[in-house]
């Protein structure tokens, strides 16, 4: 098991009641393992089935591997501009 820190942005921070969470996952861990773990948390059921995760400032695919120390952030649908 390894620990991962995830930032939650905008509406997702409200849903999960935190701007950052720590999640433990088996190794090797994928993006979808992390997002599934987040969806299992209180408030997490309102997340989409495959919420968008940024890994090191780039959008990651569900099957991408993540590593402890990665900058991870869960992004609601963008609404800038």
């Amino acid at each position: 098991m390894n620990g991962y820190r995830v930032q939650l942005l905008a509406r997702y921070a409200e849903l999960l009641g935190a701007e950052e969470l720590a999640v433990d996952l088996p190794t090797p861990a994928t993006v979808s393992m992390l997002t599934d773990a987040l969806r299992a948390l209180p408030g997490g059921s309102a997340l989409p089935a495959q919420p968008v995760l940024a890994r090191n400032l780039r959008i990651a695919a569900p099957g991408d591997l993540i590593e402890p120390g990665d900058a991870l952030a869960l992004l609601p649908p963008l609404a800038g501009g």
Binding site: L9, A54, L57, A73, P77, L78, G80, G81
Partner: protein, 146 residues
């Protein structure tokens, strides 16, 4: 260059950043806070970002535009609390010719809306508020978005 700011955006100052002595054209777009959205009356709103990634995306968009066209590009997006009429986003493009100025400016604002991690929390006249989700209700989005 920093694209995110909590200060009011000044289009004249932004245009001055992209003008070169050999360029004759500056094409600009500013997106302003509107008093309505999705049929509801908006009082004010606040923008929040994933700052590190938003800065990186703005820089990447400007870089892509400057690779594709012979232009100078500046992007600003305001964060925090805004009221009706305030400028939320501004793009300025300096170019030798106006055709490439218009093409670049349109490209950049489309990419900013598509790629930059920024979110909008609207406060309505009836006292309620909501996060804007452009993926919810395609019809509304097409008719409402600037």
């Amino acid at each position: 260059m920093t694209s995110l700011t909590t200060d009011p955006i000044d289009p004249t100052a932004l245009g001055a950043l992209v003008i070169r002595p050999d360029h004759g054209a500056v094409t600009s777009f500013t997106g302003h806070v509107r008093n309505h959205h999705g049929g509801r009356s908006v009082d004010r709103l606040s923008y929040t970002a994933y700052p590190e990634m938003a800065e990186q995306e703005c820089a990447a968009i400007a870089e892509e535009a400057m690779t594709r066209w012979d232009v100078v590009v500046a992007i600003r997006h305001r964060l925090g609390d805004l009221v009706i009429g305030d400028i939320a986003v501004a793009v300025a493009v300096g170019s030798a010719h106006r055709a490439e100025g218009f093409a670049t400016c349109r490209f950049v604002i489309e990419e900013v809306k598509r790629r930059v991690p920024i979110w909008k929390h609207e406060h309505y006249a009836d006292g309620t508020s909501a996060w804007v989700d452009p993926t919810a209700g395609t019809e509304r989005r097409e008719s409402e978005e600037t």
